[in-house]
Symmetry: C3
């Protein structure tokens, strides 16, 4: 619980209203109750602001007059709300120390302030930093390193020779460092190319649930500081993801592809291997990237949704586009002649 004045100080914002007003949680404008903090990030929700039951609302200066309750005044209300959300987050039941059921190698180096959950397994040579939380059932392989303040959720798997930076988050079932998909065709079938590289992940990287980041073939797979990656994303061997780049759910990157800084890949995007995408590129949902991109901007592929009956007719014509173009050119030629 905070009072309004405390919140203002913690968020470095001006406030209007009774500084002693207590705030115990965060809620949307519509569902907030008399001890909740809320926020408005777009004027189109002004009607909700006027009717809100919140105790306090984070808002931009021009909305102060329309706010029926106390407020925190921010030039960037959404960002201030994000910061406020951390004040009210409670990770219930935080574990402490090394649980008796964890299997920790005597050759692992566990910081005294780290917490290791039930049934976690940590192999020799692993280094676990200060204030790290390794939750129940997590596996951490030989020689892997987890930087200070990083949190790994239940049952995630970190293979050997994977380095995770500080203040990262790795959600459940995510796999860091499984073998890249490397095989050479031989006379009797595929011959495995052993994946001898590791994975190197920077600081403040957040990785969602059930995502896979493969280890490199010879060099490492790399994710740079501040990148954020959603659930069910595939990052193949030897990819490099730039700083603060965001990759949404179900996206997939083939091997050795390099993504620049501050890019966003929307859900379901696929990127072919061995490409380079420069900084500040944005790819819309489910697009297929088959060529390198060297110019910032927004890119797309795909076709629009329509009623299946209509779609079938149009889709047939897609396969005739080359002939449609030729027929059109033929008419133009006759016309011109």
């Amino acid at each position: 619980m905070y009072c309004l004045a405390e919140l203002a100080e913690k968020l470095d914002l001006e406030f209007s209203g009774d500084g002693n007003c207590p705030v115990t949680g965060v809620a949307s404008l519509v569902s907030a109750g008399p001890a909740d903090l809320s926020f408005i990030s777009d004027k189109k929700f002004t009607a909700q602001l006027v009717d809100t039951g919140a105790a306090v609302v984070i808002l931009s200066p021009e909305l102060v007059q329309q706010c029926p309750v106390a407020c925190l005044i921010s030039q960037t209300p959404y960002l201030s709300y994000a910061r406020a959300s951390g004040l009210f987050a409670k990770e219930p039941g935080d574990i402490q120390g090394i649980h008796a059921s964890a299997v920790v190698s005597p050759g692992a180096d566990i910081h005294p302030t780290a917490a290791i959950g039930p049934n976690a397994v940590i192999e020799a040579g692993a280094v676990i930093g200060a204030d790290v939380v390794v939750a129940a059932g997590v596996f951490i392989g030989h020689g892997s390193r987890v930087g200070a303040g990083t949190r790994i959720y239940p049952n995630a798997v970190i293979y050997h020779d994977v380095h995770l930076g500080e203040h990262c988050v790795v959600h459940s079932q995510t796999v860091l460092g499984a073998d890249g998909f490397g095989f050479a065709p031989g006379p009797e079938g595929w011959v495995k190319i052993y994946q001898l590289g590791g994975v190197r992940i920077g600081d403040r990287v957040e990785i969602g649930a059930s995502t896979t980041v493969d280890r490199g073939t010879l060099d490492h797979t790399v994710i740079e500081d501040g990148a954020i990656i959603d659930n069910l994303v595939q990052i193949a061997h030897n990819c490099r993801i730039g700083k603060n780049t965001a990759i949404a759910g179900c996206a997939g990157l083939a091997g050795s592809t390099i993504i620049g800084d501050n890019c966003t890949l929307s859900g379901g995007v696929g990127v072919v291997g061995h490409l380079e995408i420069c900084d500040n590129v944005h790819i819309t949902g489910m697009s297929m990237v088959t060529k390198s991109i060297n110019k910032p901007g927004s890119y797309s592929s795909g076709t629009p949704l329509s009623a299946t009956r209509d779609w079938k007719r149009n889709a047939v014509r897609f396969s005739q586009l080359e002939s449609i173009q030729k027929r059109l050119a033929g008419l133009e030629k006759k016309r011109g002649s």
Copy 2:
């Protein structure tokens, strides 16, 4: 093992043949042996019916004459087969009681008839109902609830504040309640928006393997009664999935999208965030849904498969469609003038 007369009674069907005929399993018409139950759901398989080696076949009334063996007569043979399959299902090695290796908080409330498998971890405040099966290695977080008769398969992870209804199934590696992908852009990179909502799942919901259902940002993510969800599906924060809606493998829903009742999303479908899809909408495989849908029916997107050489030519023309349209309009204008 059942005899034919018992089966008829349990399935509430008429039968033809020797009521004492023993039945020990279920098989397709082609592979069924002399103690197997089989079924025919479409007349196009009549040739297989005539040659079947099954003991008993579930069929519609008009096929009785062509059945060489005993039969169970149903107006809905496929549905009757579904019900029969449950009679022959055996979940081998069902666990009982709380396994000695499970780590169950004294603050968890475990019904005496629930079974908790080896190395499962259950935190304080969790409530596990009657006849629930929590298999090996499953994690259940603080304050989460699992309703009576629900079964959770090995290594699935249920975070804190997730409520699962009665008679649900959750397959292995599925993650319920990981953080939604919420971040605000700040001057030095992404600022995490803590995900303070939970997940609420109704009764008789089945969720496949390696699927992710994220917790809500402020309110809950909701899946209503009777919904069925396949493997490797992503359901983002604050989505709401209606009753009896079916979502096939590899589909992905972005945040805050609402899907109505009795919808079907085929494999690989992607749905953009903040949309509403009304009841009784069907989306064909790999379609991309970028707008709300307020009319029941079948919808599609995508292009048809063709030989890569042909596809390349046509795909190039896709990027010229606007100019093709303009050229065509130009010709029409000249023609008309």
Copy 3:
């Protein structure tokens, strides 16, 4: 560590240079140091060859003259490199015997040379062959079989009645044998069709991380010898994958689809159910396969990436293709008349 002459013998290659030259690792031409083996698989990298700091390079005969260091001469340098990579692979911390924390049923049959990691769970009737490695946290259900030399990585889940052949690899979080997505529509919602078949996987099959292979409905789901499957792939009930077929990340196969031998499905490919794809078919990335394919070759679908602004204009026209075709036909008719 090997000397050059040993490597030549093990790889069955001729060599040029000092046979006593020590080699301790593998690296790319660019990053290789003075005790590293490298390789060149394409003449376009000749400039890198000339400047390499490697100790030894695997190369084709025509590049021997341009190699500044010792070399191993191969008609298939990439394949020779793949074989060499296995010589330098070290799986650190290999486990031995049955870990004290593993929960192994007395009714399971574990070969004395098999290794069972911490917190692994093996149920009754399971058969674990010689030299198998079952890593930490893996679950193996009743009656499942793991052939000699197979390796299963941490936290993977193998349900009951799943047979894995010899010398297979299964990476972390992969699920073999969860229920297929089978339900019949009933008057009050979906009725589960119990999935009574198993999974049968041949020899030398490699399966990546977080992939799901569902059990069959009545018959088995089958993956034949030498198939390789990447991460986050969905293989539905009763699929059959042919020998040496390769399936890349994020691909999904709906139920009862049969893929022939020596096929390649690139990343994100989706295949509708109940299709047959013949041998030697190659599907490019993110393509949607909606019909059976009976002719070897390369197939594709999808549209090319472009700037979002351009894409929007062209995508609108996609939904008008049928009318564009009609307008064009109209002009042709007038022209012809």
